[in-house]
Symmetry: C2
């Protein structure tokens, strides 16, 4: 098994194809991980997401530095991982253009399976939902293969 | 879909059954995520792992606060997630008893699919490998179901 580094274009391809990742944020150096659903905005180079307000959002409002990991694991010898370092940016209602773009991108997906979304579907929490972007500062990726390329 | 909180015993059950998770560490409030392979030590209440020395180990040596997320996702309406907050503890060669126990636990698994291990299998990096524990400070979990229990 050989592990290849991915180019930026190859990383972008994974981000465009995948819609679930794990986001880590940190407060006072205590990290916290949650699964997130996202859509890659290749123009703005950001991951667009939606969440109800909870620990994750509260922490990112204080410390916007985040890390998002996306992986495709077929088995232990066939996997791809992409890691994004980025900055959280909340899309306020006043940013009408950005908000419309985020909603449009997310609506292209048939279902947002976010746990948060599921919980909020029939509650007042939905009213407190926020749209956000993770502005990509850098992206790296690795993929296994059986041969040198 | 209803989301249930798991009891500690239910969380322990997931930790015992699963062997791959995502670990987040943080340095100067920048989080970083990596997939890790682990074995749950129910006696010592810790996750036992093995890694070559790299960014993850270097960061955890500086800031031992970590978060490990383990999930089983069948589909968007059927999933279980467990989140561990814990403290990194490196097992030094001088801790002969702890080291033997860690190795014994890990050897019960047929394969450790860690990317780090794969990379190290045929290189001098293997000599720089470390065994570590994540001492569990608290564990929480959630599971979906179609009915109230």
């Amino acid at each position: 098994m050989i592990v290849h580094e991915l180019t930026r274009d190859e990383c972008d391809g994974v981000l465009a194809r995948m819609h679930v990742g794990r986001l880590a944020c940190a407060l006072m150096n205590q990290p916290y991980i949650v699964p997130v659903s996202f859509v890659f905005d290749s123009v703005e180079r950001s991951l667009v997401g939606f969440s109800t307000v909870g620990r994750k959002i509260e922490w990112m409002r204080v410390n916007p530095k985040v890390c998002v990991a996306i992986d495709e694991i077929a088995d232990e010898r066939h996997w791809t991982t992409v890691v994004v370092n980025g900055v959280y940016h909340e899309i306020a209602g006043a940013d009408a253009g950005l908000l419309a773009r985020a909603q449009e991108l997310l609506q292209k997906r048939a279902s947002w399976w976010l746990p948060a979304t599921a919980r909020a579907a029939h509650s007042a929490e939905r009213d407190a939902a926020v749209f956000y972007r993770v502005l990509i500062r850098d992206v790296t990726g690795r993929r296994t293969s059986d041969t040198l390329r």
